[in-house]
């Protein structure tokens, strides 16, 4: 009964989406306010029904109702409650339901908090949102019904893939989807603007916070996924240039570009056409990501179900939406009026440069991800494009971008002075050169590239700090005055500082981890001692333990540094009987931003066990960087500048605060 109710709720949501696809547009054509307003009710009702559908599926998983195929294939009665809940989206059908739930959530947010939007723009935005939602409801109902029943219900389920039985599954997919799907709002706004043939700075002011929200979640989602892969897969890798990872990186790069170009549009009324195009491209890349992950066209660590019907259906959605929106763009974009002239050396110019490099880098990732697929279709040759390709293409494009980052905020709008900006950045330049010189002297004869890269990171961080120092007049006027000024600075300025500095912080982590990582891989006998980067790890013994739905072998390590005992580490290997699979649970010891990482291999016949021990210097900076970036994004989001100037200021401020 629960399953049928969930299915029915989803069908009702489809019906609502179909109404919302057509009626508001008819209303806008006729100038009929009642018809336009209908979109708001249907958007809210959609959220209600999809939410109900999702809750019912969760209930089925929690109560282990194995008469439902989805629960049978992905759950087990002995599975801990948290994984019964997260298991809802740990499979194809459930994760698509999560996808549309989040889409409905965003649509409802626009409906609920879009009071200061012009009525016809709101009607169009919600209608476009309903087209996307309708397509995906159909996809779920026709090819991936999570509520399908089994005629002869089995007693026990097949359990969730053990790799997914981790707290990471509770956080990573929802975050990532909030990011992916969040970009649907800027897409809907772009398409609505094209349909109306009208766009202005108010449009950008509306789109920017939504883009920022999506970007924050996507940033955190990607970082979280990377950390999860790092500790779960057992060999300490944190980025594999796997097609599925690239699928999330591409919308991130395009979304970052969009954030910056929307800024130009909001402040200077320039780059309108480009911003519209980027909004379309960013969501198109999100759809492409969904296609790559969900259709099973890829061979990757994310070995998702392969079902041609699904692949073709998503490909169809992809073609209709990307092709349709781009055709509309080609048709309508020439009508949009360009405004805001600027010189090449200016804040706008710097942001154009940022966009140029981000989109080009995105394009190289796109080529590297899709080229193998294209080649296989055309010549049936199978190739793999891995890290070496991306190191040779993506990295060289990011270097000039990072060099340019500190200049951007130093240049004035409209016409900037590069020389004056360079003078203000002297201190940052000196800091970077000092960092390089110190590292070179310290390493003597070591790798040259690493100190240079760290110097670049120091340049980015010092550049970000310089911006704040310049704005507050630090060291030139009394400190107390500077402090007062710092408090008065717009939050967006602090946001920029944190986001840009986060980039540098992440780069330091990446360089240190890849250059100075030390490892020890061998078979160890009990009481044997391994020495890694000054640490001594003694294997004290192996024990067995029974978990709720697995058995595990634990290895006890005593860690000491310079003869001083530090801590114990207990990595383990779990074997899950239901699926006949095993997983490696690495043990991590955090020292500052560095980590000691121990994971287990197979036990040998003579009582020893294979172990991998890594010392990863400053590895945590890789994830602290994105967290800083997201924090910067949140600061920007709370800036009052994003809220003033709207038609009904007082009301808009209240509403927007609630929306954020």
């Amino acid at each position: 009964m629960i399953a049928e109710a969930g299915h029915y709720a989803l069908v009702l949501a489809l019906g609502l989406a179909l109404i919302q696809s057509v009626v508001p547009i008819v209303g806008a054509r006729r100038g009929d306010v009642a018809l336009m307003e209908m979109a708001r009710s249907t958007a809210l009702a959609q959220l209600l029904f999809v939410g109900a559908s999702f809750t019912l599926l969760t209930a089925l998983h929690v109560t282990s109702d194995f008469s439902v195929v989805n629960v049978f294939e992905n759950s087990h009665s002995a599975k801990p409650l948290i994984y019964k809940i997260t298991g809802v989206w740990g499979n194809h059908e459930g994760s698509m339901l999560l996808w549309v739930s989040i889409l409905a959530l965003f649509g409802a947010l626009v409906a609920a908090f879009g009071n200061n939007l012009p009525a016809s723009l709101r009607a169009h935005v919600l209608a476009v949102q309903a087209w996307v939602a309708g397509a995906f409801y159909l996809f779920i109902l026709l090819t991936s019904n999570p509520f399908a029943r089994i005629a002869q219900p089995p007693i026990e389920g097949r359990d969730l893939n053990p790799i997914l039985q981790d707290i990471g599954l509770a956080v990573h997919p929802p975050m990532l989807y909030l990011g992916y799907v969040g970009f649907s709002i800027s897409f809907s706004f772009a398409v609505a603007a094209l349909i109306e043939g009208r766009i202005d700075a108010a449009w950008a002011r509306w789109v920017r916070p939504w883009t920022l929200v999506a970007w924050i979640f996507l940033t955190l989602g990607i970082a979280m996924g990377s950390y999860w892969a790092y500790y779960e897969l057992g060999w300490g890798g944190w980025w594999f240039w796997d097609p599925v990872e690239n699928a999330s990186l591409m919308p991130w790069l395009a979304g970052t570009a969009l954030l910056h170009s929307a800024l130009v549009m909001e402040k200077r009324d320039a780059l309108k056409v480009w911003t519209i195009l980027l909004s379309i491209l960013t969501f198109s890349l999100s759809l492409l990501g969904t296609f790559l992950v969900r259709s099973g066209v890829l061979t990757s660590v994310h070995a998702f179900a392969t079902d041609p019907a699904r692949g073709v259906f998503i490909l169809l959605i992809l073609c209709v939406f990307i092709g349709g929106s781009l055709a509309l763009f080609a048709l309508r974009a020439p009508q949009l009026k360009q405004g805001g002239l600027f010189a090449p050396i200016s804040r706008e110019g710097a942001l154009v440069l940022n966009n140029l490099f981000l989109t080009t880098a995105c394009a190289t990732v796109f080529v590297g991800t899709l080229y193998p697929l294209g080649l296989e279709v055309l010549t049936s040759d199978k190739i793999s494009v891995g890290a070496p390709f991306f190191n040779l293409t993506f990295a060289p494009l990011f270097v000039p971008l990072l060099v340019a980052v500190p200049f951007g905020p130093q240049l004035a709008w409209k016409r900037g002075d590069l020389l004056a900006a360079a003078q203000r950045l002297t201190a940052a330049g000196v800091a970077a050169l000092l960092a390089i010189a110190l590292l070179l002297a310290w390493m003597r004869g070591g790798p040259v590239l690493a100190p240079l890269a760290i110097g670049l990171a120091a340049w980015v961080i010092a550049g970000a700090l310089t911006d704040i120092a310049e704005r507050t007049g630090l060291f030139r006027i009394p400190v107390s005055v500077s402090l007062r000024r710092a408090r008065g600075l717009p939050r967006a300025a602090w946001g920029t500082m944190f986001a840009h500095a986060g980039l540098g912080v992440a780069l330091i982590g990446i360089v240190c981890e890849t250059t100075w990582n030390s490892e020890y891989i061998a078979t160890m006998q009990p009481n044997q001692v391994a020495r890694v980067a000054g640490y001594e790890l003694k294997l004290e013994g192996l024990t067995q333990r029974q978990g709720p739905n697995y058995r595990e072998t634990l290895a006890q390590f005593a860690v000491s540094l310079d003869g001083q005992p530090l801590s114990a580490m207990t990595p383990s290997k779990r074997s899950f009987a239901t699926r006949g699979m095993s997983t490696t649970e690495a043990a991590l010891l955090t020292r500052g931003a560095s980590q000691l990482y121990v994971s287990l291999g197979d036990a040998s016949t003579d009582g020893g066990i294979a172990v991998r021990i890594y010392h990863k210097p400053l590895v945590l900076l890789i994830w602290w960087g994105p967290v800083l970036m997201a924090f910067g994004g949140m600061l920007s989001l709370s800036d009052r500048r994003l809220r003033v100037g709207a038609p009904k200021p007082a009301r808009a401020i209240r509403k927007l605060q609630a929306a954020e």
Binding site: S95, N161, L169, T299, A303, T306, L341, L397, T584
Partner: protein, 155 residues
């Protein structure tokens, strides 16, 4: 600067960056792309020693030998030919005899495949897509290999 000159500067700059990116991509395509082969295909194409490729097939049952210091030797078969593989390190959790495997490395002078990476990216009933396709093409596909589609790993 006139409006036209400004526009030309921007377009010129964009084209320059795109040209650099295209050059980087083409250069990387030449050097860092790895082809996939099964043992039969490798024998047929006579891949020279030292040329990196991805070898895919089934781990020959009974061929796995563990040596000192984490050295492992096994054979990869695709129904037609078998190829001996040597690897030093810890095998992935899902590595089993009789299961699909993909290894990356190169042949040495004696004709042994020296792998530096071994991937067993699948669960107990699934096998890598490349291996499945190659086996199907050669007519060694058994239907029970694909009895249950793999459940996904999000990460």
């Amino acid at each position: 600067m006139t409006r036209k000159q400004r526009r030309l500067t921007m377009i010129g700059g964009s084209l320059a960056v795109l040209a650099v990116a295209a050059a980087l991509v083409l250069n990387a395509m030449r050097d860092s792309i790895v082809f996939f082969s099964t043992p039969s295909m490798a024998a047929e194409k006579q891949i020279p020693a030292g040329k990196r490729f991805r070898l895919g097939g089934l781990v020959q049952p009974g061929s796995l030998v563990r040596g000192e210091n984490l050295v492992v030797n096994f054979s990869v078969a695709d129904g037609g030919t078998t190829l001996p593989v040597s690897y030093k390190g810890i095998l992935p959790d899902l590595f089993r005899e009789g299961q699909g495997v993909v290894a990356e490395g190169a042949l040495d002078a004696s004709g042994t495949f020296r792998a530096d990476t071994v991937l067993a990216k699948h669960d107990e009933t699934y096998m890598p897509k490349e291996v499945a396709d190659a086996l199907k093409k050669q007519g060694h596909w058994k239907d029970d290999y694909g009895a249950k589609p793999a459940q996904g790993a999000a990460k």
